[in-house]
Amino acid sequence: MELLKKYPKLFQWLFLLAVFFALCFAIDVPETYKFIRGQAEFVKDPNQSAFVFLGKEVRYYAFDVFWRLPPLLGWLPIWINDSLFFLMNDWMPMEFWNEDTQEYKTRPLVLQITRNLTAFMTFLIELIREILLGGLETIVAFTSWDWIDANPWAELPGLPWTIVAAGSAILAYKLGGKGLALYALLSMTYISIFGQWKPSMQTLSFILVAAPLSFIFGLGLGVAAYKSKRVEKALYPILLVMQTMPQYAVLVPALVLFGVGDHAAVIITMIVAVPPMILLTLLGLRAVPPEVIEAGRMSGCSNWQLMSKVLIPTARRDILIGVNQVIMVCFSMAVISAFIGAKGLGFNLLLALNQLNIGLALEAGLCISLIAILLDKMSLAWANKQVDYFGNLNFFQRNKNSLFFGVIVIVGILLAYFGSIYFKDGYNYLFEVPHNKGISTADFWNKGVDWIFDTFFVYIKAFNTWLIVDVLQPMRALYLRMPAVATLVLVVGAGYLIGGVRSALVVCGLTLFIALSPWWDRALVTTYMATFGVLVSCTIGFTVGTLCFQNKHSTNFMLNVCDIFQTFPSFVYLIPVMMLFGITDTSVLIAVIVYATIPATRYTIEGLRSVPAGLHDAATMSGVTKFQRLFKIEFPLAFPHMMLGLNQTIVFALFMVIIGAFIGTEDLGQYILKALSDKKGAGIGLTLGICVAFIGLIFDNLIRTWVGQRKKHLGID
C-alpha cells in the first residue's frame, strides 16, 4: 500500500501490462488464421465474407473481432481511386484552346491543370538540363520542330564539363571560401573522370528545379501560416501527416495525376519537401523576439520590409535547417522517384541494385552523395554570407568572380575545341566523358564483394541464420500473436496514462484506422521491424553519443559525422548492406539501424549539451563523481531532448523499413511498391502511406506529450 502511494504511475503501468497480457492469453489464434492471406487481397475466394459500402464491395476473411477487426475501411482505397479517376477524367469539362490543332477541345479541368503544370515543370527541367548537357527541347518550346529541322545550328551544345566544374568551384569560392571551392572542383572532376557526368547532370538539373521551388513554396506558406491563424490551422494536419508519411506512398497518386517522368518527380519532391520547410519557417518566425519586431516597426518598416528585412533574417537559423532538409529530401527523392521514371543517378542506382551489381550501385551512390554534400554546404554558406555593400571597390574588384568565370568559359570552349581535334577516336574527353568511357571501379568493388562473400560466407551466413531464426522470427511471431483488441487496449491505455483522455482519444483514432484497414497484419510487421531497428539504434546512439560527449573534440567530430551521414540519400544505405547480406531481412534491418542511429546519436549529444553549464560546476563543487553526475544530473535533464531524438529515430526507422521493401520484406512497404505498378494502385498506395504515417504519429503523439509534461516538471522550456 505504501509503495502504491509512492509510485502510483508505476502501478498503473503494471496494471495496463497485466490487462494486455491477460487479453493476449485469453484470446486464441483462430484455426483458420494464416498470416497475410488472412487479410483482404481483393481476390475472390468462397471462404471470404463481403460487405458493400458506398457502392463498393469489400471482400475479406472474417475472424473473431477480438482477434482481428473486420476491414471496415476496405472501401477507402477503391473510393479514393474512383474519385481520382473521376476528377481526372470527368469532373468539370471545359473548353480549352489547343495550340497544336488550332481548335477548342473539351477537357476536364483537373486534367488541364495537371497538364499545364507538367508542361511547365518539364520546361524548367529541360532548360537547366540542356544548359548542362545540350539538347533542343527548350528551343523547340519557343519555336517548333519544323524550325529546328531547318536551323540545326540552334541546338544547344551544352557546357563542357570543364566549365561546369570550374564554375561550381568559383561559386563555391564566392560563397564559402577556398575549402569549399576545392571540394567542389575535386568532386566535379571525379564525377567526370569516372564517367558519371551525364546522369549526374540529369540529377543535378532535377535538384536545381525541385529544391528552389520547394524552398520558395515552403517559405511562402510558412509566412502565410505565421500571418494567419486560419491558414495555419488548415495546414497543420497535413504537415503532421506528411512528416511521418513515407516518401514512397506519395509516388502512386502522383503517378495518376502527373504521369511518368522527371516533372512528376519534381512535383512529388515538392509535396514531400515543402512541409518540413513550412514547419521550420513557422518555428523560426515564432521565435523572433517581440521587441525585435517592434524595433522593426518603429524603424518605419512596411509589412513587406518587416517580413523580408527583420523577421526572415532573424529567423535565419531555423529557416536554414529547413533549407538543409529540403536538399536532403530532394536527393532522397532523386533516387526514389526513379521508380516513376526520373532520369539520372537514381535510375542507375536502382537498376544496378536490381541487377545486384554492387559496384555500379556504389559508384552512382557515391556521386549522389558527393553532389548532395556540395549543395548542402553551398546553401549553408550562402545563407550565412554577409552582403557586402561598401561602394569603394573598383569595377575589377567588384566583378572579379564574374570576370574570372568569363575567362573560364573561353578557356573551356577552347579546350573543348582542341579536344575535338586531338581525340581522334570520336570521344572528346575535354567536352564530356561518356558514361562507359570513364574510369570504372565497379569491377573492383564487385570482385571485392565476391571475395568477401567467398571468404566470410560461412560467418555471414551463420550470423544471418542466427539473427533470422533466433531473433527476428520469434519477435515477428510475437507481434502477430497480439490480438487486435489487446494492442488497442495497450496503445490507448498508454495514451491515457501519458496524456489523459485527449491523448488516449487521438491515439485510439489513429490505431483504429490501421486496425480497420485491410492491412493490420502488414502494419504489425512494419512495426516489428521498426521496433527492432529503433531498439538497437537507440542503444548504439545513446551509448556513442554519451561517450563522445565526454570530450569536446569527439563531440564536434561526431556531430560532423552525423551531418554528413544525414546528407546521404536513404537508398544509398542499402548498397553496403546488400553487399554483405544479400537480399534478406537482415540487410533491411541493418540499413534501418545505421540510418536511424544518426538522429539517436545527434539528439543524445545535443541533449547533453543543453544541460546548463552552471549545473556542471555546481555538481562538481559538491563532490559528485563523473558517473553520478551523468546519471543524477545530465541524463534526467537531457532526457526530454533525447526523447525527441527517439521520435526522429522512429520516423527514420519507419522510412527505411518501407524503403527496404525494395529488397523484399513482407510489410506495408511491399504493398506500396506493388501499388506502383498497379493501374488502380493510387488509392491503395495512399491508404498504405497513411497507415505508415499513423504508426509514426501514434509514437509521435505519445512521446511529445510525455516530453511536454517532463519539461514542465523540470521547469525547462
Binding site: 521587441e291 518603429m298 518605419g300 512596411s302
Partner: protein
C-alpha cells in the same frame, strides 16, 4: 505656450476578447477587478497628460503597472482601446498605415530594454537600418550611421556583430539606431534596466549629455525611482494602469498625491531631489549676509555653504535678483526633519 508634442486624453488599453464592448459599458469607470473577472486585463486606465517640446517625461512604476503598454499606445505599436492621442496635433489613431509609417520614419525613435538589435547585421548596419528602410542611398546612410557610431562612442567597433558586444555597448547601438533618423520624439522603454549598476550610471550620464545636446521630446520608462529622479523634468507614477501622480520630482517628493506614491518617496534623500526654490521662504527683512545662492541649485550642492553661515542667506534667480531667502534651520529641517509632515 506652443502646442504639446504628445497629448493623451483618457487613453485606455484593455486586453481581451470583448475589450471594446466592456469599455463602452463601463462608461469611463474602469475597475480592473471586474474586468479581470470577465477575462480582460487592464493595461492602461484613463491616462491623460501632455508632454511639451524638449521635455523629458519619466514614467515610473513597478513591473506590470502598464508602462510599456502606455508607451506602445503612444507609438501605436498597439492600438489604444479608447481615448485620443495627438502627436504634434495629428490624431494618431486616425492615421492610416502609410501615414503611420511616415510618422515613424521621420518623427519617432525608440530604444528597447532588451536592445532588440538585428542579430544578422553589424553595428553599422543596425544603425543604418532605419535610414535604409526610409530608402536613403546606401552611401549616405552609412555616412550618417558612422556619425551616430561616433556620437555614442563606439568608433572602432562598427563592424562587430551584436553578439560580440557587451550589454552596455549593445544599448549604445540601440540608442544610435533610434537617433539615426533624427527624430523629434524619443521613446525609451527601460533602456538601462538590463545593465549592471555601474554601467547603468555611466549610461545615464551619457544619456543626459546627449539630451543636453539634442533637446528631444522624451518619454522615458523605468522602474527605478532613483533613475527617474535623476533624469526627469516630470515624473508620472503608474500603478495598475492608472497614473497615480504626474508632477515634477520635487512636488512628488514634497506632496505625494496618494499613499502609494508616498511610500515610494519615503526613502528618497530629499537634498538630492529638492531645489532651493522648493523650500525657500519669502524675502525677509532679516539681516542677510553677502552669500547668495541660486534658486535652481539642488540643496545638496549648496547645503554646506548655507550651513556654515549663521544667518539667513539670500536666494537669487537667474538675473541675480533676490527672490527669496533661506536659513540654515530650514535646510536641517528638510534633510533630517520629519519626513512625514513637511511644511
Amino acid at each position: 505656450m506652443s502646442e504639446p508634442v504628445i497629448k493623451c486624453q483618457s487613453v485606455y488599453k484593455i486586453f481581451g476578447a470583448n475589450a471594446e464592448r466592456m469599455l463602452k459599458e463601463a462608461n469611463g469607470n474602469v475597475d480592473a477587478k471586474t474586468f479581470q473577472e470577465n477575462g480582460c486585463i487592464v493595461g492602461v486606465n484613463n491616462a491623460s497628460f501632455e508632454v511639451s517640446k524638449g521635455e523629458m517625461l519619466v514614467v515610473m512604476g513597478l513591473s506590470g503597472s502598464g508602462k510599456s503598454t502606455l508607451l506602445r499606445c503612444i507609438s501605436r505599436l498597439t492600438d489604444a482601446t479608447g481615448g485620443k492621442i495627438f502627436i504634434e496635433g495629428q490624431d494618431l489613431l486616425n492615421l492610416n498605415n502609410k501615414e503611420l509609417i511616415e510618422l515613424r520614419r521621420n518623427k519617432m525613435g525608440m530604444v528597447f530594454q532588451s536592445f532588440a538589435l538585428l542579430p544578422h547585421k553589424t553595428v553599422l548596419e543596425n544603425i543604418a537600418f532605419p535610414l535604409q528602410i526610409k530608402g536613403i542611398k546606401t552611401e549616405n546612410s552609412i555616412n550618417k550611421a558612422m556619425d551616430m557610431v561616433k556620437l555614442v562612442g563606439l568608433d572602432g567597433r562598427e563592424n562587430y556583430f551584436p553578439r560580440e558586444l557587451s550589454g552596455g555597448q549593445q544599448q549604445r547601438v540601440g540608442i544610435a539606431r533610434s537617433l539615426a533618423v533624427e527624430p523629434d520624439i524619443w521613446f525609451l522603454d527601460e533602456p538601462f534596466s538590463a545593465l549592471d549598476p555601474l554601467i547603468r550610471k555611466e549610461m545615464q550620464d551619457e544619456f543626459l549629455r546627449l539630451q543636453e545636446k539634442l533637446q528631444k521630446t522624451i518619454m522615458f520608462i523605468t522602474h527605478d525611482f532613483d533613475e527617474a529622479l535623476k533624469l526627469a523634468d516630470r515624473i508620472a507614477i503608474m500603478k495598475d494602469g492608472i497614473i497615480e501622480q504626474l508632477d515634477t520630482p520635487a512636488n512628488i517628493v514634497l506632496n505625494p498625491a496618494t499613499e502609494y506614491v508616498r511610500k515610494f518617496t519615503e526613502e528618497v534623500p530629499r537634498e538630492k531631489v529638492l531645489l532651493i526654490k522648493d523650500v525657500m521662504d519669502e524675502i525677509t527683512s532679516d539681516n542677510m549676509g553677502d552669500i547668495k545662492v541660486s534658486k535652481d541649485e539642488i540643496i545638496e550642492n549648496v547645503a554646506e555653504k548655507i550651513l556654515t553661515q549663521e544667518k539667513t542667506v539670500a536666494v537669487t534667480d537667474g538675473k541675480n535678483n533676490i527672490v527669496g531667502s533661506i536659513n540654515p534651520a530650514k535646510i536641517i529641517n528638510t534633510v533630517f526633519g520629519g519626513r512625514k509632515n513637511n511644511h
